[in-house]
Symmetry: C2
Subunit: 319 residues, 2 copies
């Protein structure tokens, strides 16, 4: 679409009475989104691995219900294969007469930043599992279910990262799967028009969640330094921004200005949200990004000597 005037007149998507399927729903963004959807009257099913956390999350959701008819469910499953993703989805759909969800929010995932030369084969593979496949298999299962049932108007939303738009040192196991997720979303946004199924993808900046605390454990200091000035969002703030863009129908959803700027400069063939505003953002990002990069490059080059010493201390050169 060239202009989005139509979106001013289009009624935004309303969660009330809809069945929303939320993966990664026991913590961080996923849980915040699940709770937000409950307050808006949706039937919400969350999926995650840890049964203890799921029980606690379901309690929190129950406390927020606005109607006795809302169906709230929690299902423990790992989503790292097509069959597991399908089983979990079909399980929670039993309470809805086997009907596919109206909306799928694929929020599962995690990141482990570290130096490329110190990664093991396992680190790289797990990066793809936790950054890409854990979402791709749910999208795959949900799409097939929706198409088989002819569920027109259904919507699927993935959760990417600013690192699906750009990258820098430290993210060799995370930026590739996040870029891949963006590639999947852009492909399916085009392809699933065949079935009138909407595909959207959210690009959050740093979210101050349990996952973030965890990734900071392995994150090299110079990477923390580069990220130093970034402002993050709380899970609740991110969930509000995500749901707003989702309801509005933005294909690429962002909830902060920095992501808006990177999106404008990394749009590919994705549909625009606002042709005029993004042109301004594109100009700012066109001029600003190389300036930002100068600082990043200088930080990395300045760290080369200390990094060499670090690798030597870790015995990297002794093999």
């Amino acid at each position: 679409m060239l202009f989005t005037w139509s979106s001013f007149f289009k009624k935004p998507w309303n969660p009330d009475g809809k069945h929303c399927y939320v993966t990664g729903g026991s913590a961080g963004l996923g849980l915040a989104l699940a709770k937000l959807l409950v307050t808006k009257g949706a039937h919400v099913s969350i999926v995650a691995r840890d049964q203890g956390r799921l029980d606690k999350s379901l309690e929190e959701m129950e406390a927020l219900r606005v109607s006795p008819s809302q169906i709230l469910q929690a299902k423990s499953a790992d989503l790292f294969s097509a069959s597991h993703a399908k089983e979990a989805l079909e399980h929670v759909c039993q309470a809805h007469d086997g009907q596919a969800p109206d909306a799928v929010f694929s929020c599962a995932g995690s990141s482990k930043p570290m130096w490329f030369v110190e990664m093991t084969e396992q680190d790289l593979k797990e990066g793809m599992d936790y950054g890409y496949w854990v979402q791709a298999w749910t999208v795959y299962a949900a799409t097939k279910m929706m198409v088989r049932q002819g569920k027109k108007g259904a919507k699927i939303c993935m959760v990417c990262s600013m690192l699906g738009y750009m990258s820098f040192a430290g993210y060799a196991s995370y930026a590739p799967p996040k870029h891949a997720l963006r590639g999947l979303a852009d492909t399916l946004q085009s392809e699933l028009m065949l079935y009138d199924i909407g595909v959207q993808i959210f690009f959050p900046p740093t979210i101050y969640s349990p996952g973030y605390e965890n990734e900071n454990k392995s994150k090299p200091d110079v990477v923390k330094e580069i990220e130093g000035t970034d402002d993050g969002l709380t899970p609740d703030q991110a969930a509000v921004g995500m749901l707003k863009g989702f309801a509005r129908g933005d294909h690429h959803i962002s909830a902060d200005l920095l992501t808006d700027l990177f999106r404008a400069g990394t749009r590919g063939s994705a549909p625009r949200v606002n042709f005029i505003v993004e042109a301004v953002y594109d100009f700012i990002s066109y001029v600003g990004t190389p300036i930002w990069r100068r600082g990043v490059d200088a930080a990395i080059r300045g760290h080369a000597r200390a990094h060499h010493q670090y690798l030597e201390d870790r015995g990297f050169f002794k093999i």
Copy 2:
């Protein structure tokens, strides 16, 4: 870098006497590049799976040698794991006293376009293997070898696709790995500054190669229709364009105007090639891409009814 005036004065990289490692070197772009490097005086090692094709390719390379001292090698290997990629690399480096190559050209890969709902779990996994891991493991092995040997000035070049910049219907198993490869290249271009190792990535348009003929077998008709107006390159043309950008030091290499336009509108945080020219391209792509998309969207929506019938004929709805 804000401007690239420095690149006018910088001497381009010269293959003469360098050891160049080329994966996917027995056909298409890889073979064309290997032969081009031979004519420029490089020591060239090619790797691919099929021994018969390798033998033939090595013969073609031998016929082009410009000096009796050039070391030309062909090694049969599959590159789908870290260990196999490492073995193949170390094997051909024996003839160079165990020294890492001066340049690694990771050209292996293939694509199988089809409808997402008809893909099997295996199709999706193989898409990632053939589009991403087959290159990532070679890059991983080469980087570690170069860093361990302190090989400053070494260069690594991956081969992506226009579908690493954008995507549309039919490429759910190919656009994600190609986007991932771009994410890996952008990460490593930043991170490997620590070791003075250059990382570059080539985005070819359609290449009229054996791989292209193969992918057309599974490609849905409407996808062919969308691609109808694209101009492709022969493997030789693509190899010339790739080597030119590689020698110049472009981080993102393109060899045709259409890719230039998409690159300008999908730059992320990648270093610019030319700040002024790309601003013009960015403007053209900013206005042109939504217009192009209208046509693509119309083609896909117009195909919906026929597609439904096709799925019904294939028994998709009977499960």
